[in-house]
């Protein structure tokens, strides 16, 4: 585990002083990169915030281990997000500046694996939001901590009906996810 794991703790615990330190140390370089690549301050703020939230989710996984400097991890995720955003806006990056942050090829490979994972998770949650209200509420409720008999009672459904709808809704979600390019092209 890298010594920079303290930054993960700051995020997990919403440590305001620690998060301020993250901004002081790393925000400037991300801002510089984005401003020099067709972006503005608002874009930089959004990308930096989204990247930190993604790292928060990763840090909460029991099997996540930070094996490279936090700066490199954060910067590569921000860069990848920005390049995807430029692609969506049909804009090519003006420059590919590597000297804002120095990192090894190994760091890139490690982060790419996690970045792909993040993209898959975003896709799953986005697809869930496109489903009907009924399926959405049943799936979300069943993924919480309550037992299914309690959930059935809260939703005013019989236990058997809840199980049947959960199975149908999960099957639908699974098929939608499997058909999405992010998963299909793996």
């Amino acid at each position: 585990m890298h010594s920079d794991k303290i930054f993960l703790t700051y995020l997990k615990e919403n440590d305001i002083k620690g998060i301020n330190e993250i901004y002081l140390l790393f925000a400037g370089k991300v801002k510089g990169y984005i401003l020099n690549n067709s972006g503005n301050a608002d874009d930089a703020a959004d990308i930096f915030q989204e990247a930190l939230i993604d790292i928060f989710h990763l840090a909460n996984k029991p099997d996540f281990v930070l094996t490279c400097p936090f700066e490199a991890f954060l910067f590569i995720i921000c860069k990848r997000k920005w390049l995807n955003e430029l692609k969506k806006r049909s804009q090519k990056p003006v420059t590919e500046l590597h000297d804002y942050v120095s990192y090894s090829e190994d760091s890139v490979k490690v982060v790419e694996v996690y970045a792909n994972q993040i993209e898959e998770e975003h896709t799953i949650m986005a697809i869930l939001e496109t489903m009907g209200d009924r399926c959405k509420s049943i799936i979300k409720a069943c993924m919480g901590t309550d037992s299914q008999s309690i959930i059935a009672e809260k939703l005013g459904l019989s236990y058997a009906y809840l199980r049947k709808k959960k199975s149908e809704c999960m099957s639908q979600l699974r098929n939608l996810v499997a058909d999405h390019p992010v998963f299909k092209n793996k």
Partner: protein, 250 residues
Amino acid sequence: MSEDLFHKITDYLDGMLSPEERQQFEEALHVNKKLSEATALEKRIQEVISQREASDSKVDSLKTTLKEKNKTHFLTPDAPKKKTSLKRYLWPTMGIAASIAVILIISLQYTNPVGSLDTLPTIAYETVRGTEEDGSTKAIDAYNDREYAASVVLFSELSEKHDEAIRYKHFLGLSYFGSEDWKETIETLKPIADGESLFKDEASYFTALAAKKLEQYELAITYASSISEESNYYAKAQKLLKKIKKDLSK
């Protein structure tokens, strides 16, 4: 057989299969690559959603902190605002006020019969009194509170459980109308409108109304015309027919 196994993936992951079913499923996992991939994918999906649900409130707190930090570290200060004279806004404001006054006068004189024609009836508890508590109270409350998405779910379940009870299908149809699902309204209420139950005329009326929403005028006319003179819905049905004829003559 293999199709049936795909439908058992959720039950398998939830540990709800019987020992024999579980054994059969696990044997299939070893030989059926597609089943194995689908099961792994669903497991992954469940883990992602569970984790996100568990960290929901923490993420909200973190977002609040990050938004504050963004203001300090990223966002540029607002440009100084110019002072503006009120005179610039005087004439446009007077114009807007005059337009609003005209609209108000017209709306007071104009009545929209279709708006009142759309009103759904309230369900009285007496109409569904049964010999046992079957969850109908929750469904009725949701419907009367205009929570139609919930009442669709609840009346669907009641209809499935009590297939012989026309009233639940009828209330389900009215719930579909409330949630503006015109197609489902027609599919659910049409059989009741074609039957002989005491819900016949009400079902005919809302079938006609839903058909008009979909511009299926022939269907709308058929069902609006079928309502008997003694029915509470007769007057509304006649208004609806006039409206349809007016729309068709445009």
